[in-house]
Every structure is written in C-alpha cells, then in structure tokens.
Symmetry: C2
Subunit: 326 residues, 2 copies
C-alpha cells in the first residue's frame, strides 16, 4: 500500500509530508513496504473498522482551507469510531490529488493531520497516492474496544432514554452563512463557519459504552439518524424543548431571515452522538459526560408507536413533515 | 462506514448487490452499522493491512467488463497481502460510482467479488458508496499472519537467491494487443487479453514466509520493484536466461512486430512475487512451490555491486538502459 506510484515526485510527497505521520511506529515500516502490520498491545481488545470518502464539490470545495479538508476526513471516521465505542488507534489514507496541489497545500493538510493525530493519539499506517482531476480522499480507521463490548445502532428497548451530546445544527448554520442564505454579524459568522469547516467528533462513546443500548453519530441529521436506529421496531417521543442548541444558534433561529429549527433537526455533519440507554443508567452516563466536560441532554424516550413524534410543545413550522417517518 | 448515504437507491444497491458479500459474518452487522468489528479466532496472529485505489482511464477503462474491474481491485490488494506473508481475511471497499452504472454492471461486479472471496476465503466487512463522474474504487484488505513472522521488502543479505514466481510480461502483452500495438492470432489474443483483464495474485507468500529474507509483489515491473528491494545497499546479478516467460510470450518476443524482453522486464501488473532468500533455503522454497503447483525460478543473486546487472548472456536490445539504476 505504499504511498508511492512509479513517480519520484510522489516519493517526494511521501517523504516530505506524510512520513512524519507514522510516528515511527512498528508495523508501518516507515512507509517503505507495500503493506503494514497492525499491532495491539492488549489482547483484551478487538478492532473497530470504519471507512469514509470525501469528494471535492460534494463534501468540500477546491478552495477550502486544506486544514478543513484534513479535519473533515478525520472527523467523519473518528466520529464513527467513537460511535462504535472504540478508541482511535491508526488509519490508512487513499489520496487522489489534482496536479495543481502544491507545497503549501500539502504542508497545511499534513500539519493538520498531525495535529489531530496527536490530539487523539493515533498514527498513519500507510495509504496510497494517485492523481485525478478532482480531490478525493478515502480513509479507513482502526480503533480498539474491549472484546466483550459490542455497540449496535438499533438494539433498543421500550422506554429507553434518547440522549444527545453537544448541540445540533452548528455546522449547517455555518454552511448557510457561507452560501449567503443567512446574513449575520462578523463575530457570529466566524463562529459558525468555523463549526462548518472544522467539525469535531464527540469522544464520549468509548467512555459510556458499557451503559448504553445503542449509539450512532449524527452524519445525516438527528431525525434521519435517529430514524435509522428505531429500525421499524419502535418510535421516539421527542421533547422539543430539550433539543440542545447553543445560545448563538438560538439567536439565528430567532432572526427573521434565520433558519428554522426543523431544518436543524435534519442537518448533517454535526458529529454529535445519539445514545439510547436504559433510564437506570442516565445518571451514570450524565456523570461521565460531566467529568469529561461534554454536554449531554435527554431529548426523549423510546415509545411503542412507530415514527418520530414531538411532545405538546412543538412550535416549529412544518413539523408534520416528520410524519413521513411514521 | 455503512454503504449508504442519505439515498434510498443507494440503500437498494447495498441490499441487492453487496449484502451477499458479508457472508453474514459476525462484526459486519449485516451492513446496518456505521462501522464493523474485526474478529480473529487465533490470538497467535497479527493483522496485515494493504490499501489501493484504481481509477477509470488509468487502471481500467469505463467499458471494461465489470468482472475485470472487480478482479483488479481485489488482485492489487491480495497480491500485497500475500507479499506480506499474510492470508486474506476481510476487506472494506470505497466505491465512487458514475450515475450511469446499472443493474447489469453491479450484478457482474458483485458476482465477481463473491467468486474471488469464495476462492480465497475472505469477506466484505463494509465500505462506503458515493457518486462521481469517474468510476474510482479504493479498497483496504486485512490479512492474518503469525505474530512472530515479519516480512520486510528490503532485509536482504549478500549472495541471497533472487527468486521469481510465475511468468512475467503476460499482462503487458495483453495491454499492447488491446492497444493494437501487437497483431496476433485470435487464440493468442484471447489468452493475453485475459491475462491483462484478469490478473491473479500469487498465493505462495504466506506458505514460504519463514524461509525468506524479503518479498515483494511486482506491480511496477520486475526491474523497478527489485530495485526498490535492493534499497541502495546491494546490487543484483540477473541471469537473463532464467527470466521466466511462457512459451506464448516467447512467441510474441520472437515476432518481428512483437515486444522486446526489456519492455517486459519493466512491465507492471504481473502480480508475481520477487522473493529474496538465503541459498540454503532454496530447496525448501522450491518444494513448497512445487507442492502448490506454483512455478518458481531462481533468476539471480544479491551482489555487492550496486544496481541491477545482467550476466554474459544478455542479448536484449537497449540493455544499457538499466545502467541508470547503477
């Protein structure tokens, strides 16, 4: 899987920008081999595997800050890794680079990868490098989790709590601001655009894995992802007032030309975790979240009636739209 | 890493074409989860990881038989896995599909994947699916190997044997025939085009791993890959008459408008293995190859003089070209 293909300039790219990312770990062979070995210190763990691809013009734009692109390819995978209850271990990356990618781009991109690797403690095992017209990045992440723990996305029970980490809609508001759909002052603008360009995964997953029924990260919107978890077996009763929004997001919702809450319920790329768990574990989970300075909210519970339903406090427009999930 | 993105038709694609490839194995969650767990039965193994990408117009053409494309993405990875001394275990696949991909294409592609999986005994752990203008496929393969065995590509010693499995140049001749650079009778044409469209990995790697110094598969041509293995420390003396060629390839070389041997020495995509090993293990390795009905040749030995050198029997044109490696 060497990051090289018959081309000295590509060998140069590996040596200059990517070798620093293997942290000289055993099994990477300093990227001189066509493959790598994955070593785990502890036999009580199994490996989680997640993989994702991001594409120019779909998940980012060609003139986006390369640091943002590095953030996105790692966050989509780290978020899935944490949602599997696993701790990041290592990854491989498949880069399809347009020919106009230059030193500045590669320097920023690889520095951001290194920064994220150091933050979460994982290293680059290898990858491959080719050229194409569009920038396309696939990445496969390896995590470790106690071999006796297994996180499913739809193993849920009646009356289970529906919990949600962080705030929703931040990234979507940023995108709408970038697309000039929302006009707002410079300070708020910067805040939300940063949320869109630099989404962060929520690290709570592996810390609460033994107290939960199911867990999933929000990549397609709270409603869509929660609907996947209910899996035609159960429904959800959501307390709309408990939907976690930042003070800043509330300001945007209250603007005349702002964004509707409903839209935020369907907004992707928040990378917060939906956790479904037995009520008896609520305090344990909240205490762990508090200890880790992670915001968590109980937004509703699992009910027998299929579909996603809102309590009497629903005051958002077009809320009937959600009926199509019933 | 679900093979789904916000789109019913993509869910349909997963269910209809790809679910059959998980062989209902534990940890795949039947592709209902965003990630998978990798389970190994035996604690004495470690995991090998290889990854590769193939692109339309570079590694294949859009109107190529989808079975050939399935063969190529698996062979590039299986070949690296075997070269690591490992036995294939499972894989993930990242598909970027043009919108014109149809039922017929997906049926053929997925059937070929299933056929190859059954042949080598591995299963699909998961993947992701997106759309793009060009067909692009990345895939990451997991193999298992005894934890005490480690195959490097450049741990070689003076006077080691240089061994080569199979025959070289078959795929390249097929490509030249397809490109109408070589004109040949229908039977030979079919034979070589098949070698180009359906390259096979060499399975010898894991069977001889404990008797070798280094091993690498040929993806960039015998000369290029061997040169990588010598790694500026040693040279190679190659006995040109021992370079393994099929009787059919020899016919092509002897044609007036045929292909030069030198070109075949630099031809990629043969996926044979270059094995460098102590002379004392030659018989053991040859016996294992024989037992497994795999052709193997001793083509030369490691020498002190850097570069790749040919013995006195060199009669190929332009052989001085190789001097640039000295």
């Amino acid at each position: 899987m060497k990051l090289i293909k018959n081309n000295l300039s590509e060998k140069f790219i590996i040596n200059k920008y990517f070798k620093k990312l293997n942290f000289k770990r055993i099994g990477t062979f300093d990227f001189e081999n066509d493959g790598a070995y994955l070593y785990f210190k502890n036999k009580n763990y199994k490996i989680s595997i997640t993989t994702d691809t991001i594409l120019e013009d779909v998940d980012f734009f060609s003139n986006d800050d390369p640091k943002s692109i590095a953030q996105k390819i790692t966050t989509v995978n780290l978020s899935d890794t944490f949602a599997m209850g696993a701790i990041p271990h290592s990854y491989v990356i498949n880069l399809l680079l347009p020919y106009n990618i230059n030193d500045k781009w590669l320097t920023k991109f690889s520095h951001q990868l290194k920064k994220i690797q150091l933050k979460y403690g994982f290293y680059l095992l290898g990858g491959d490098l080719s050229h194409s017209n569009k920038l396309i990045i696939s990445s496969t992440f390896f995590g470790y989790i106690n071999k006796n723990v297994e996180i499913l996305q739809n193993k849920i029970n009646l009356n289970d709590d529906i919990l949600l980490t962080g705030n929703i809609g931040e990234s979507r508001i940023g995108l709408d601001i970038l697309n000039k759909k929302i006009l707002i002052n410079a300070k708020l603008k910067k805040y939300f655009i940063n949320k869109y360009l630099f989404p962060l995964p929520c690290e709570l997953g592996p810390k609460v894995s033994k107290y939960i029924s199911s867990m999933k990260d929000i990549s397609d919107g709270l409603i869509g992802d929660l609907n996947d978890m209910l899996n035609d077996k159960f429904g959800a009763l959501i307390n709309i007032n408990e939907i976690p929004l930042s003070t800043k997001a509330k300001k945007i919702i209250n603007l005349e030309n702002g964004i509707k809450l409903e839209k935020l319920l369907n907004a992707g790329d928040d990378y917060e975790l939906i956790i479904i768990s037995n009520q008896k574990n609520r305090n344990k989970i909240f205490n762990i979240a508090k200890k880790n300075k992670i915001k968590i909210s109980c937004i509703g519970k699992v009910i027998r009636k299929k579909g996603i339903h809102f309590d009497s406090y629903v005051d958002i427009n077009n809320s009937k739209k959600f009926d199509h999930f019933s």
